[in-house]
């Protein structure tokens, strides 16, 4: 036993003893010479490979285990995601596993209570699973299998957004990583290059000489490999331009900061096209060889001069021109990466098209220092009988949803609302209320934070109240979890297997998620929950594998490996085909658009009634006395997932509202004051601290996403900071990708709030140590 545990036991037991002994015990505890503990690494330490889940970048990690507990997580060199390094979130993920606030037993909502009342009784796994299966079958009988929707996110979403819904035959399976994150960039890439971007952005960081980031928050967003690549590029001397209304961390590293007026990025990109073409400094050979529609593009942008864009963007025309010229001078080793969260104003696919077109003019797609062409690893599916439906959710892996639905089944409930074949999670909320185009009566929610990711929370609450069945599978008692009829406590990623994690990459690879400790309390892994539900739903034929080891072993054997081999090395790395020259050497064409060319001009868009070339459209402007609400990331937090993590909260415990210093002064506010935020629909959030700074334009305010939890069961997270998502009651649907443009929300700052009283994080953390 380690000394600290011994001390804990002693101090816990003294209360039951006589007073004299208690004083004696405390005196002993106070003796500094007697309290030096053995560090965790002094004894026997074992290591195991697995994959991180504290964000969705999924780094390969090595867990250090002593006395049956995990003390440290580190990257390892052979994994192309972590390459031996790890971000703060990945390392601190241990604290979630040992969080005493975790869901510990299956829970069933007390009979006679409403959703949201939060009153539950404990149940056995059998009772909870039977309850769900019975309700699902009833819904299927009355409304059809499509009437049960599945929302899922994380590595385990393979079970709950793909495997189970496809076996059950619901096309209404959705991931937030599509329509409230990457769908514009994926759709635009698909219709420009004929390929998606994929979950691991194929930026050839190490080879690039000139980087232009447009509201791409590297540094505040600590996607491990991306941050490494960015840093290596800069160390090698790459120039950096950052376009952002806010002086972000990345801007602080830049050679040029362009503090653009929010919502006008497309104008800037079109002006860059104009300069590259009018000054004849684009890559002629590349465009002639690979691209289609150059003449139309040249005609389209001929009047979109830097002077034209300067008026729109509030930037200097000469600066715009200079950056275009510099990009051209460094091309093709110059790149504008697409970023990740691209659902901003609703016209987002067109903005992303403009971004890719500038890149194409630089001739950087498939060239060193530009975009490399990623490849998915070779991997075979488990040989289950064919599912009645193809998995429909798509995802940031870029696979896209199923493009067709078997004629005997109904199409997804969001069909026809937008052009791309993805599902849009926010568009599946409305049918839960209106019953149109058909009712959605059941929802299985796996790891999706319904109130901190999907816009218009009042609407989401109304929808949840309307359902016949709402199941939450989660690790933590998040606010939306405590609305469910049945709550299933999942084991954390350190306690479970998941399906193999394949990543499309320069060097495609497969990594293993495996348990490094046993599940704590009465939690169960996602695969087990999915299988047990499947068995109860008469889907046994799809779950013929007895356990996950058998499932994984079968898949690995098919590619000439085995579970033991993968356990021993963590990652299998395969060979890629990153550059155009590699494709051409094999006589292959990577551009899989309709025309087989890089499409500057999109005939497909034209035929569907959209602009074939991107057009700048003015977005909604702020009502009087309101600021546009921008949001972003903290380097130590992942969305709304980590605000109960004591270690990460020690590093960053609440968000603040950034406002321009002069604007704040006019409002009589200074840094450290507390305010409420009130949006255009009179929704109020807060209190939140003011951060009056030079680092932001006067027409917008900014806050870090993910704070402002309202779940009482999250003892650390509850009521710290404020939620941006609660203020996003409006969204603008991107008619092409189905993305929910979130930056058309506006807030006022209401002075006079008092600073909320909280226990110190350090005090709360004392109960949570390993």
């Amino acid at each position: 036993m380690r000394r600290r545990e011994f001390i804990k036991l002693s101090s816990a037991s003294v209360g039951a003893l006589m007073l004299g002994s208690q004083i004696e015990a405390e005196n002993w505890l106070a003796n500094p010479l007697a309290r030096v503990e053995e560090p965790w690494h002094a004894g026997e330490v074992t290591t195991m490979y697995t994959v991180c889940e504290n964000c969705f970048w999924h780094c390969g990690i090595k867990a250090y285990i002593a006395d049956g507990k995990v003390f440290k997580l580190e990257g390892y060199d052979e994994n192309p995601k972590s390459r031996g390094m790890l971000c703060p979130r990945g390392q601190a993920a241990i604290m979630q596993t040992y969080d005493p606030d975790r869901l510990k037993k299956p829970l069933i909502r007390q009979e006679g209570t409403k959703r949201g009342d939060g009153k539950y009784r404990e149940a056995s796994w059998d009772e909870a699973l039977d309850y769900i299966a019975d309700k699902m079958k009833l819904i299927k009988k009355d409304y059809g299998s499509e009437s049960v929707a599945f929302f899922a996110h994380g590595a385990g979403d393979s079970w709950f957004a793909e495997y189970l819904p496809a076996a059950w035959a619901s096309p209404n399976a959705a991931k937030p990583s599509v329509s409230i994150c990457t769908s514009p960039r994926e759709t635009a890439s698909q219709y420009t290059f004929g390929r998606g971007i994929g979950g691991h952005e194929p930026i050839d960081w190490e080879e690039t000489d000139y980087i232009v980031l447009i509201a791409h928050h590297i540094g505040e967003d600590t996607h491990n490999t991306q941050l490494q690549g960015f840093s290596i590029a800069r160390k090698k001397g790459a120039k950096l331009v950052v376009v952002d209304p806010r002086f972000s961390t990345a801007a602080a590293k830049s050679d040029t900061w362009l503090p653009i007026k929010p919502g006008t990025d497309t104008a800037l990109l079109l002006a860059w096209c104009n300069v590259l073409i009018s000054e004849n400094i684009y890559d002629h050979q590349y465009i002639e060889k690979y691209a289609l529609g150059f003449e139309e593009l040249a005609e389209h942008v001929k009047d979109m001069t830097p002077e034209w864009a300067a008026k729109i963007t509030d930037l200097d025309a000469e600066e715009i021109r200079r950056v275009a010229r510099e990009m051209a001078a460094y091309a093709p080793r110059a790149i504008i990466p697409p970023g990740r969260h691209t659902v901003w104003y609703g016209n987002d696919t067109q903005r992303m098209r403009a971004l890719y077109i500038v890149n194409a003019l630089l001739g950087n797609y498939g060239r060193e220092g530009g975009f490399y062409i990623n490849k998915s690893p070779y991997l075979e599916p488990y040989p289950h009988p064919q599912f009645p439906l193809e998995p429909a959710a798509g995802g940031c892996s870029g696979s896209g949803g199923a493009s067709t639905v078997e004629s005997s089944y109904r199409p997804p409930a969001d069909a026809g609302k937008f052009f791309a074949h993805t599902t849009a999670v926010q568009e599946l909320i409305e049918p839960m209320i209106s019953g149109k185009p058909y009712p959605i009566k059941g929802l299985i929610c796996y790891g999706v934070n319904m109130f901190h990711s999907i816009p218009n929370v009042p609407r989401t609450k109304e929808a949840l109240a309307n359902l016949d069945l709402y199941v939450a599978i989660d690790v933590m008692p998040m606010e939306h979890v405590m609305w469910a009829d049945v709550i299933l406590p999942e084991a954390t990623y350190l306690e479970r297997y998941d399906d193999l994690l394949g990543t499309a990459h320069k060097t495609p690879f497969i990594a293993l998620r495996q348990p490094v400790i046993e599940p704590m309390w009465d939690s169960k892994p996602g695969w087990w929950i999915a299988r047990e539900l499947g068995m109860r739903l008469d889907l046994m034929m799809y779950f013929s594998w007895e356990n996950i080891e058998e499932y994984l072993e079968t898949r690995l054997k098919k590619i000439g490996s085995s579970l033991d081999k993968l356990k021993a090395k963590g990652t299998i790395v395969q060979k890629g085909r990153p550059y155009l020259k590699d494709w051409e050497a094999r006589g292959r064409n990577p551009f899989t658009t309709h025309s087989g060319k890089l499409e500057l001009y999109s005939q497909t868009f034209k035929e569907a009634g959209f602009d074939p070339l991107p057009v700048y459209q003015e977005t909604i402007q702020a009502p009087a006395a309101h600021y546009r609400l921008l949001y972003g990331r903290s380097p130590v937090h992942s969305f709304a997932k980590t605000q109960n993590n004591s270690l990460l909260m020690e590093m960053h415990s609440e968000n603040a509202i950034w406002i321009n210093f002069d604007e704040a002064a006019e409002l009589g506010l200074k840094t450290g004051d507390y305010v409420y935020l009130e949006n255009q629909d009179a929704i109020r959030e807060g209190p939140i601290a003011v951060y009056a700074t030079q680092r932001i334009r006067r027409d917008c305010v900014y806050m870090v996403h993910g704070f402002g939890h309202k779940a009482k069961g999250l003892k650390i997270a509850n009521n710290r900071g404020a939620s941006d998502n609660y203020l996003q009651t409006n969204y603008t649907l991107d008619p092409i990708s189905g993305g929910a443009g979130l930056r058309n929300n506006f807030v006022k700052l209401i002075p006079g709030a008092t600073k909320p009283r909280h226990s110190r994080i350090a005090r709360l953390a004392k109960d949570r140590r390993i």
Binding site: A30, N31, P32, L33, R35, V36, E37, P39, W40, H41, A42, F71, K72, L73, E74, G75, M85, L86, C87, P88, Q91, A92, I94, I218, G219, E220, T222, N224, L227, Q228, F230, S231, I232, R234, K235, F247, T249, A251, A252, K253, W257, P259, P635, V636, S646, L647, E650, M651, H652, F661, T693, Q694, R695, R697, R760, I761, A762, R763, A765, R769
Partner: protein
């Protein structure tokens, strides 16, 4: 004998706290205490701005003011120049805490003074300090100042600019800051 030192490239550091978290877990630093922390300074007027992220920790000074003031010999300097604390000998009198010009030391809840050790236990296994190994921006270098081929010697050689904290104290810090922002950077702050 090696002279071990660390350098942090401030042009690369983004203040993400990966190092601070690594340190806390590696060394089981109690909640509320820190061996390593990030200082963020912002300066300038829109749009001409500078932000500097600066990780701070024990500087393992060549002339450490904390060592001579220790009455029990708990604080000492190794032959490789690492300043360490023997918690068994420490009586938590606080003399070293007061003597440190950099506030690098804290009272550990278990009754002794603690601080950065350059992860001496990892060095023994031929590994780098936890903060150096984990940093996703690769901003930290570590090694022997007397070895011209060590990571740190190369980093110092290649740096456009090298600073130490409070050089006027004459402590001879072995934590070097490289490439601090040109405008409003470390030197100006030190001059104040």
């Amino acid at each position: 004998m090696a002279r071990l030192a660390m350098a942090i490239d401030l042009a690369a550091c983004v203040g993400c706290a990966a190092c601070a978290v690594a340190c806390k877990l590696e060394n089981e630093v109690p909640a509320g205490d820190h061996r390593l922390w990030i200082r963020t300074t912002e300066s300038g007027i829109f749009p001409d701005l500078t932000v500097e992220f600066r990780p701070e920790q024990c500087l393992h000074c060549e002339n450490p003011p904390c060592v001579p003031v220790c009455p029990t010999g708990a604080t000492y300097q190794t032959q490789e120049g690492i300043v360490l604390i023997d918690p068994e000998k420490c009586i938590a009198c606080g003399a070293c805490v007061a003597a440190c010009p950099y506030d690098a030391r804290f009272f550990h809840e278990d009754g002794y003074v603690s601080k950065c050790s350059f992860c001496e236990h990892r060095l023994k296994d031929g590994r780098l300090p936890a903060c150096v190994e984990t940093c996703p921006t690769l901003c930290r270098s570590f090694g022997d100042l007397d070895d011209p081929n060590s990571d740190i010697s190369i980093a110092l050689k290649e740096a456009d600019r090298i600073d130490v904290l409070r050089p006027e104290q004459g402590t001879g810090p072995k934590l070097f800051y490289l490439n601090s922002p040109k405008k409003y950077g470390l030197n100006q702050e030190v001059a104040k």
